[in-house]
Symmetry: C2
Subunit: 355 residues, 2 copies
């Protein structure tokens, strides 16, 4: 669909920087999109116009929908649900529900985004308690999609397979693999290792044809190696793994900086190596991979990191565009339907064989 215009709602007030990041990012994406993109900016009209002034955007490509109300970054989800109606976040999500926008991007409060999205859009995958969050993890080979990294604290075998379906669609739409390989995170590669949930999901993924390119079990070390394109795990393990990796990366970078600053000679060395080191930092810079969808909803909701800069937020808008234009939602719907027909088929389900 090369000529269809994509409409994306932005929560202009979300994130640590609000319109000072969202508006310039919006302008950048409009410049790059060649007239195929329209953006609806929700938030304080004056603040948005200030950041738009002097910028050239195509006629009709930006619409501002004013609201005074903002959901704070530290508001609890329950509070945001109670008093968030009419806020920039709320209105942006509502525009997806009403069909006025194809997707919404917000750098705002994750808990509020999740709660309001769930309330308004409803879950398309009813057995998930909450939308799943996918992280695009930098690896030796490119990027691996890891999910769930935070929302669903425990996940049974069915949910793990749903994550596999959604993660594969995400990798195809955004990270570019034609036939993404899928690994199930475990503590070893033998069939007998791990929780009952991962063992059951492993057996199902191996024996049934969900249309997925299933690789098998992977371990924590495989995340950085890029062994597979998609790594599936429950939200507890995924969240711990993501944060442990962040902490480790920060620790090692800190040690490296200390080491390079520790003597006059090493400081000179660091100076000479600076351009190369900068290039490396850019490769693992979170803003180069910013923007992940909340998965399992009726509608495309993309979460940007709260602290994202213009480059990061621009990337989050691009992720939303890719998700809309790639037929991502249809692929997921088709594969979930296939899954549910497989799981309810007369062929003995895997669990019952053991009984």
């Amino acid at each position: 669909m090369p000529d269809k215009v994509i409409v994306i709602s932005l929560d202009a007030m979300g994130g640590d920087h609000g319109p000072s990041v969202v508006v310039p990012a919006a302008v950048q994406r409009l410049e790059a999109s060649g007239g195929r993109l329209k953006l609806i900016l929700h938030g304080d009209r004056q603040a948005i116009e200030t950041h738009l002034s002097g910028k050239r955007v195509p006629e009709g490509a930006v619409e501002i929908r004013h609201t005074d109300l903002v959901v704070a970054m530290d508001e609890k989800p329950a509070q945001a649900l109670r008093r968030g109606k009419g806020s920039s976040l709320w209105n942006a999500i509502e525009s997806v529900k009403s069909g006025q926008a194809d997707a919404i991007v917000s750098a705002g409060n994750t808990g509020a985004l999740m709660a309001i999205s769930k309330l308004q859009l409803r879950m398309a995958v009813p057995d998930l308690e909450r939308p799943a969050i996918v992280a695009a993890w930098p690896t030796v080979k490119g990027h691996t999609a890891v999910l769930d990294v935070g929302a669903n604290v425990s996940s049974d075998a069915h949910q793990l397979i749903e994550f596999a379906i959604m993660g594969a669609a995400f990798h195809r739409a955004v990270l570019g693999s034609k036939n993404p390989s899928i690994g199930l995170l475990n503590v070893g590669s033998e069939d007998a290792k791990g929780h009952e949930e991962v063992r059951e999901a492993h057996t199902l993924l191996r024996e049934r044809d969900f249309g997925l390119n299933y690789f098998g079990f992977v371990e924590g070390t495989d995340i950085g190696k890029g062994t597979v394109d998609v790594i599936v795990t429950d939200g507890f393990t995924g969240n711990v793994a993501l944060k442990t990796a962040e902490g480790t990366a920060r620790f090692i970078s800190g040690l490296m900086k200390d080491a390079l600053m520790s003597s006059p000679l090493s400081r000179l060395g660091a100076l000479l190596a600076a351009p190369a080191l900068k290039k490396m930092r850019r490769r693992i810079d979170p803003s180069s991979i910013n923007g992940g969808p909340l998965l399992g909803l009726n509608g495309i909701v993309v979460k940007s990191h709260g602290g994202a800069d213009v480059r990061g937020f621009t990337n989050a808008i691009r992720v939303a565009e890719d998700l809309v234009s790639s037929g991502f939602a249809n692929e997921i719907a088709r594969n979930l339907e296939r899954m549910s027909s497989i799981m309810s088929s007369p062929a003995a389900p895997v669990e019952s064989r053991e009984s």
Copy 2:
């Protein structure tokens, strides 16, 4: 007990390098210990004597117990149990059971070490399925003990508290904190987050007096920061976290190396900074923190990394010495007893309050 001689059994054939690493490490520790250490080396007498020849060790400080049988690094635990009797690993563990040695150190097959230890020594903490493994994790501030990193795939609240007790004793004995602070690994710091098991353990640790310095929930990022001295988690999450951190560290070091080799100027910079970078690598070198006990057994069993070099294995022996001389086993026994009396006390247990 300054004058008591500590007796430690070594599996001289274990690990990727066998006696070529174990024997020189033994000699180094004997030199450092000033006559307070005796080592029993189990394995091929001729191979051990070859590596001992020309080395000076105090009279009577080394005893060789010959055996031809070796448990291979890739043998399955069940197989090792079946045909491992009389092997260097088996005999070394048996000497602890019989009271001839105070501890055993092996760089051999982890699964076999765990299975044979459990069979011979039996669990002191009967509700653990397997001994727990503790990792000494390098952090900004020093080292944090993380457990369980691999053995018990799911853990209830009682087991998590047992890990806390054993981890605190380990930190005190080996890593030097007088009153180790303890964190429970979770996906957020609020009371309502996470699994039921961690929430229950959290409530118990806060409300009952187990003699522990309980900090509260910590997240994955806190591991590298050194927020607490001991981090408690189930064996599944701990194993994934450890391996993810290893993978991330390797990934970032690889990127750094590539960056430094990418141009003549950066290569020159790397050359100038080399001594400082080497010092940094040493700080996170696994051999500086090699050697972790299998926890929960009747007896001290220390696992060295299979690929450990002489420096690494020397450190594993030192860990065993610290565990023996510090009264580690008594501290654990005392605190487990205290725990069981608290948990069976008439004060309403935490779970029942919610019902």
